[in-house]
Amino acid sequence: MEEGAGEAPGLGRSAASKDFRFYHMDLYDSEDRLQIFPEESTRMRREGVQAEMTHEPMRGGVKGKAQRDLGEEVDELVHLYGLEDDHELGDEFIEENTPRIEVSEYPSYMMMGSEQRDWRLTGEAAQGEDLGFMGWGSVGQCQDLREAYRYSHGRASEEYECYVIPEEEDEEEAADVFCVTCKTPIRASEKDQDEHKQHEVTPLSKALESAKDEIHKNMYKLEKQIIEMENFASHLEEVFITVEENFGRQEQNFESHYNEILETLSQKYEEKIQALGEKKKEKLEALYGQLVNCGENLDTCKELMETIEEMCHEEKVDFIKDAVAMADRLGKFLQTKTDVEISAQPDFEDQTLDFSDVEELMGSINTIPAPSAPVINPQAPNSATGSSVRVCWSLYSDDTVESYRLSYRPVQDGSPGKEQTEFTMTVKETYCSVTNLLPNTQYEFWVTAQNRAGLSPTSERAVYMTAPCPPIIKSKEIRSCEEAALISWESGNLNPVDSYTVELSQAETPGASGVTESVVGIPTCECLVQLQPRQNYTINVRALNVGGPSARSEPATVHTTGSYFPLNEHTCHPWLTVSKDGLTVVRSESRGPTREPVPSDTQFTRCAAVMGNLIPVRGRHYWEVEVDECLDYTVGVAFEDVPRQEDLGANRLSWCMRHTFSSSGHKYEFLHNKMTPDIRITVPPKKIGILLDYENAKLSFFNVDISQHLYTFSCQLHQFVHPCFSLEKPGCLKIHNGISMPEHVTFY
């Protein structure tokens, strides 16, 4: 305590670390108390010591640095930024810093709360040192942190206020207003004094509130910052570990490479030296042999010379005798050629040293032996088309790869015996768009990496799927009304797809091909889309699977004018034919009731009827039927499950208007459950309007040409009904739908 805080790091570490915790407490408290004192002196003192003390930790750091290797230094840095690895805490450096960031450390200070008051009584001397220590870090930050800490730990309010309100006010009358300009509390009476006359003042409680708010905000910011810093620090640690690992690996790599090169070189040296020695020995031996030979020759010559000289001193007879023999010997000797060519050259042959393999080794010094197996990515959404997929993979960052070999084959569902063809391609990138694939099909992909050192192991196998084929809208089966349309389509794909998307655009805006609305995630081949009345829409459908969406289907058009329904040919009695446009029902003369059709659940077999497919939307639907005045017909509505072996109107599941013409005139019946009201109509309608009103549970019939109301059923429509048409005699009915409702029918 007596010494400056900054000196501590230089001393024994174990002792210092304890003290530092202590200093922290002290620091906080002294700061608290300082606030009570007049502003100027506090600041002044703080600045003074701050300047002096700031360098201290740096010195400590430098000292430490010298003693540690690089790794330790990084470690330390990591901890400096708040990483908490308690077992590694080796020095005061870390100890004194972590509490500032580590929120978890705070409670330990809290426990010391009782001491705080005591510390206030500490003398000035201690205070200076405290301040000095404070100077080490950012003063403001420490203060803020402390506030945040105090606030969050529910510090007593009087303590809090004690901090906010300068104590000088306590000596005199209590201040009751706050001068915003001077940022100081004043007494209301002071307000009129010169100093605060022009100043803005607020009630003290209000100022207090806003100050609290401000602190609250700062605290929140700080907490966020703390979390951010912690995250950042842990991130740094990760990076640190990665760097260490990477460099370690590289070192090993270098070492093994250099060893290899040195080994190769020394081996080469040995070989060369040996070869050189052998050559030398060989040459010397040759030369020596030659030398010996030469000496022998010389001796022979000398001997001959001496012999000849001796001969010259002999008697004539001896001379002659010997001379002849000598001449022969000499002749023989001279005939043998004396070899004076040097058999071995003193200089050695031009021997080029072959360092190519060494060079290669040198060159390959940066190459990681062989890459590890790449990691193939799962298929990214929306990355496929009907005929292609984009396959992606990755490798370990320190692998060097020259190319990849991507292989694939279709995934087999059924017959396992059949071998599927495998395809392989070489690519440089870590992705590849594979084309010419079948739509809505699964393919298995795997990849290997290669470099000069060789081939990596094979990656895991990943299944990718091509996008589906576009669906085919059943244009003829589209049903619509003013508020909606029911679109159905064929999948267009043999395998099931995940879902379908219906895209709508209003045909009114031809230039802007933008989709105005999409309905997504449709599991079935049918969708009821909500529309605006009296508009033209272009509708497309896409099929989706994990690979992505198909191309758009061929467009279909929907007009939301009136209700449009196609006739359901499956319900059509065999005697009836429906025209191509699906709007005219004909019963021809030729087909008499010769043969009763087989009873069926879908096809009408008793009355010659056909049912329309009305959109299942509650609301109002209107359509018209053109009839011949003399034709016997029945028109109306029926539930989908109306018995096919009964006449329309002969049960509780249908409501119909029936016309029969005879010599006695026209008879009009409004049949439901075989009953009809007694209604006479003087003008036979040529066109019957039918209004189905779900909301009011009514079914009305009109003579369209004269806007005459004929009859209205009140019917409980507990489920959806469909239009029905029946011809009791040969003739035809022409259906008009997709037309707007005439005004007169709106009264019913």
Partner: protein, 282 residues
């Protein structure tokens, strides 16, 4: 032609009023009822004339038929006059319920002593509409007529004798062919004399035959248990046959179980109001 308000009562947001005035045609004080729907406060409304049956006054319809709600909703002014001149002190006027007072038959009488006062046809087709047009917020171009029994006959002849004047017509159990029924014969003999050819000018079934074919949509409701139907007073079949012949649009609904009363009227009054509203509000 000063109007004197006799009563005024709020009903379905509108006002049911009764007025009294001195009739020029009938030369006596006459009362009529008028219903002003809420819509009449802000604009001109179409007028629907109701002609009552034998013995009725302007009161029967307004108190028994329950037409107000429909009229209020469709914004129709409904006018219901009395069925004959009152208090003219004509001898025999009060002798029977099917002739004289309460039995004007909507004809202009040509015989003495009735011809001075019993001019109900002119009253309901000319004087009263004029009076209404002058005193109430109505659109003179849009008027229709309907009635019950003798008033149904009145409604039919008013429409058939004035092609285009009425946008639509409907009737409850009307006397469709009065020249052939006892009530008609008695009244027409009294008011028009014995020359039956003159009667035809006030007979719906006869008038149809010469109707020029202007668009007219006729709705008729008839109770099947109506004693006057079986008694041969109403003869709707003759009218239907004539209309079928002349292709005049009629929807005739024979309502199972109903009789000739205002209960029957009240049951189907809304259908009739809507029928007229369709043409009047088109």
């Amino acid at each position: 032609m000063a109007l004197k308000q006799v009563s005024s009562s709020k009903c379905f947001g509108g006002l049911q009023k009764v007025f009294e005035h001195d009739s020029v045609e009938l030369k006596c004080k006459m009362k009529f009822a008028v219903y002003l729907p809420p819509k009449a406060e802000t604009g001109k409304c179409p007028v629907l004339y109701w002609l009552s049956g034998l013995t009725c006054t302007e009161q029967n319809f307004i108190s028994k038929s329950g037409y107000h709600q429909a009229a209020s909703e469709h914004g129709l002014v409904v006018v219901a006059p009395d069925t004959s001149p009152r208090g003219c002190n004509i001898k025999g006027e009060e002798d029977s319920w099917d002739f004289g007072t309460g039995a004007g038959f909507y004809v202009d009488a040509t015989e003495d002593p009735w011809k001075t006062n019993y001019r109900m046809y002119s009253y309901v087709t000319k004087e009263l509409p004029q009076l209404i047009n002058d005193n109430f917020p109505v659109d003179p171009q849009r008027m229709s007529v309907f009635g019950h029994s003798m008033g149904g006959h009145g409604a039919l002849i008013c429409a058939l004798k004035n092609p285009g004047k009425y946008k639509s017509v409907s009737a409850f159990a009307p006397l469709c062919n009065p020249v052939l029924c006892r009530w008609g014969k008695k009244a027409f003999t009294g008011y028009l004399g014995t020359d039956q050819s003159k009667w035809e000018a006030y007979d719906a079934s006869c008038l149809v035959k010469s109707y020029p074919g202007s668009q007219l949509d006729i709705l008729i409701d008839q109770g099947k248990e109506d004693e006057f139907l079986s008694d041969g007073q109403l003869l709707p079949d003759n009218f239907i046959a004539a209309c079928t012949e002349k292709k005049i649009p009629v929807v005739f609904r024979l309502q199972e179980g109903y009789d000739h009363s205002y209960y029957f009227i009240a049951t189907f009054i809304a259908d009739h109001i809507r029928h007229h509203a369709k043409y009047l509000n088109a």
